[in-house]
């Protein structure tokens, strides 16, 4: 491919790329062609719109939480309302935003194209996935309107089964249905990657994004059913009045925690692995260099998926878990950090002696690498038994997971959206404003959550709408940061929409990147390729032959 494109991040508009060429966007108009589509790219767009909506909703709940926490007293909201807000913030963000985000939007769009296929293995099930997501979302939305749920997104009994008067069952029904959306997406990806790769595309020629999506899909398949049945049991207990998790009737609330976290810990790897896949693609493209240690990164994705299922007990260190098992879980939690660390080292090593281009996706990737590292290291602190006794249920935990989820995952999602926006929409986004937005988001994020590490360390508990007076300064700082962060997120929303009409057209490969997705027009035609591709190159074949293969 030409190297001309790498001299400046934004190529000039090339008149021969006209928007009138038939692509997946303009092949058919009308509501039915979208709502009954089986084209994976259109389904990705449907998800993009729905997920953005969920993110805004979840973000609105966060705004209200931070508003309340500006002052130590509970003067903005009642305690019950506050409980509902943090519950619903968690539910929306985890189940309706983070878990689907990269898989359902970028994964759906890119997986078939990256492997040279015309579509996913089961296009109709793909559409069904989206409808399940929407139905689950609508039911949950109804639950919010009908009074909300206040159990925390973790639904711990006996509060969720006996004492909460909120819409627990309705929310559980919504989540149960949405869970199947996740399962079917994972199923689709696994079968597609196994059975639909283009000729010549062996496993170790696959982009690392595919490895990451595959590993995340395995977790989706294995973990989601367990949380589905667990929540179903909570609903049964509530409706029928039995004591599955009720100690008074012989049940065990800690059993719920085992069953719940068996999924919900691997779930965080469902959330982060796809993001890591994005970072691998972005970092190699904008270092003009193959990823350092491709095999290690690929195996790390699989290792995270497997090890991630062995550590759930670290959420239960203070629940009365056996000390011996706690030690095992602690040790395994240290182990699971290793493959993540390997990835961070490999991305960094990729930058070394690379030709670094500071495009917006690359800036998000840098943000990811730094912030995910902080989140990961604080996770190790939490995995240490002695420290967790002190930190459990404090803002230290809240800061930790927001660093990995927002500082990590959301940054990766934003980076991925920017990186593949030209492919998805056929347009470039405005680079200058995008960089400014990234910086605003970065600053806002750190201002919101860095103080929370300190707050947690000082002992401020989570999930309370009031706090001791001495915590106020840091809380005010956090809320100020949150307002910057919130404002920052609106900017891309606006310019992405703006770019659809006013930005220059992108060619097939504005970044000069490797990968099959860049060999097809932007936006791609409905069946992705005019001729089925045959793969002969190694992945990330960026540099010419004389490139020092120093690794």
């Amino acid at each position: 491919m030409s190297t001309a494109a790498i001299d400046s991040p934004i190529p000039p508009a090339e008149p021969r790329f006209t928007a009138s060429r038939v692509n997946y966007l303009n092949v058919d108009f009308g509501v039915r062609s979208w709502l009954l589509t089986t084209d994976h790219k259109r389904i990705a767009i449907l998800y993009l719109a729905s997920i953005t909506l969920m993110f805004v909703l979840g973000g609105a709940f966060a705004v209200m939480i931070r508003l309340e926490l500006m002052t130590p007293e509970g003067d903005v909201l009642q305690a019950d309302t506050y409980n509902k807000l943090f519950t619903m913030h968690g539910i929306m963000m985890i189940f309706f935003f983070l878990i689907p985000s990269v898989p359902a939007v970028l994964g759906n769009f890119l997986v078939p194209i990256m492997i040279g296929a015309k579509d996913l293995a089961f296009p109709r099930i793909n559409l069904l996935s989206w409808y399940l997501y929407i139905i689950g979302g609508l039911i949950t939305f109804w639950a919010i309107l009908a009074g909300g749920v206040d159990t925390g997104w973790t639904f711990y009994p006996p509060y969720s089964t006996r004492y909460s008067y909120s819409q627990v069952v309705a929310t559980i029904v919504g989540l149960f249905i949405t869970g199947f959306s996740s399962i079917f997406t994972g199923l689709n990806f696994v079968v597609t990657v196994h059975r639909m790769r283009a000729p010549g595309l062996t496993w170790f020629r696959l982009p690392l994004f595919i490895w990451a999506m595959y590993a995340a899909s395995l977790i989706m398949l294995l973990g989601t059913p367990v949380v589905a049945i667990t929540l179903a049991l909570v609903a049964v207990e509530r409706i029928v009045g039995v004591g599955i998790f009720n100690p008074a009737l012989g049940g065990d609330p800690v059993l719920f925690q085992h069953m719940f976290w068996f999924y919900s810990h691997p779930a965080v790897y469902i959330m982060i692995l796809p993001g890591m896949g994005v970072i691998s693609e972005v970092v190699s493209c904008f270092s003009r260099k193959a990823i350092f240690g491709y095999h290690l990164v690929a195996f790390s994705s699989m290792a995270i998926a497997v090890l991630g299922f062995l550590v759930w007990g670290h959420h239960m260190f203070t629940s009365g878990e056996s000390v011996y098992v706690a030690m095992i879980f602690s040790f395994l939690s240290f182990l699971v950090a290793i493959p993540s660390a390997i990835k961070v080292f490999n991305w960094t090593a990729t930058l070394y002696k690379g030709s670094v281009l500071l495009t917006t996706p690359m800036l998000y990737a840098f943000g990811f690498i730094g912030l995910f590292t902080i989140g990961g290291l604080t996770g190790l602190m939490l995995a240490a038994l002695g420290l967790d006794i002190h930190f459990h249920d404090t803002y230290f935990v809240v800061a930790h997971f927001h660093y990995v989820m927002v500082g990590g995952m959301v940054m990766a999602y934003m980076g991925g959206l920017h990186f593949w926006w030209p492919k998805i929409s056929g347009r470039m986004y405005p680079e200058g404003i995008a960089k400014v937005a990234m910086v605003i988001i970065f600053v806002g994020f750190n201002m919101t959550f860095l103080p929370q590490f300190v707050l947690g360390h000082l002992g401020m508990p989570r999930r309370y709408h009031t706090y001791a007076d001495e915590f106020q300064i840091l809380n005010v700082m956090s809320t100020a940061g949150a307002s910057i962060l919130g404002a920052g997120f609106f900017i891309p929303l606006l310019y992405f929409l703006w770019s659809l009409k006013y930005s220059p057209l992108a060619g097939p490969n504005p970044w000069g990147a490797t990968g099959l997705e860049w060999q097809t027009p932007s936006p791609p035609p409905t069946f992705n390729f005019d001729k089925p591709p045959i793969v002969t190159d190694e992945p990330y074949a960026y540099a010419p032959k004389e490139d020092a293969r120093v690794h």
Partner: protein
């Protein structure tokens, strides 16, 4: 299109084997019921699970054609069993060592 080397094989099953397996499953069912009338203490559960496991294996291998299936199918089943076992074993470990 990737036609993997280890794709599903074409095979022709003979109905005879199905009847043989059915008979075996009936015998095993009768066995497990019979054993349940004998007092074996802790061993009762072990024997019952062993027999159930054998019956399940027969269904998997012959009714579900696992014996003719490719390596990926075996890995998928092994994976399911493995993670199910993890879930059980680590949870039991908590209760057993408190």
């Amino acid at each position: 299109m990737q036609r993997a080397e280890n794709a599903m094989h074409e095979y022709t099953a003979a109905p005879r084997i199905y009847f043989i397996i059915f008979a075996a499953l009936m015998i095993l069912t009768a066995t497990t019921v019979g054993v349940s009338f004998i007092e074996l203490g802790q061993l009762n559960l072990t024997v019952a699970l062993a027999i159930a496991g054998t019956k399940a294996l027969l269904v998997l291998l012959f009714f579900m054609h696992l014996i003719h299936s490719n390596r990926l199918t075996w890995i998928a089943i092994a994976g399911a069993v493995y993670f199910f076992a993890i879930m059980i074993v680590l949870t039991i470990s908590d209760y057993a060592t408190r």
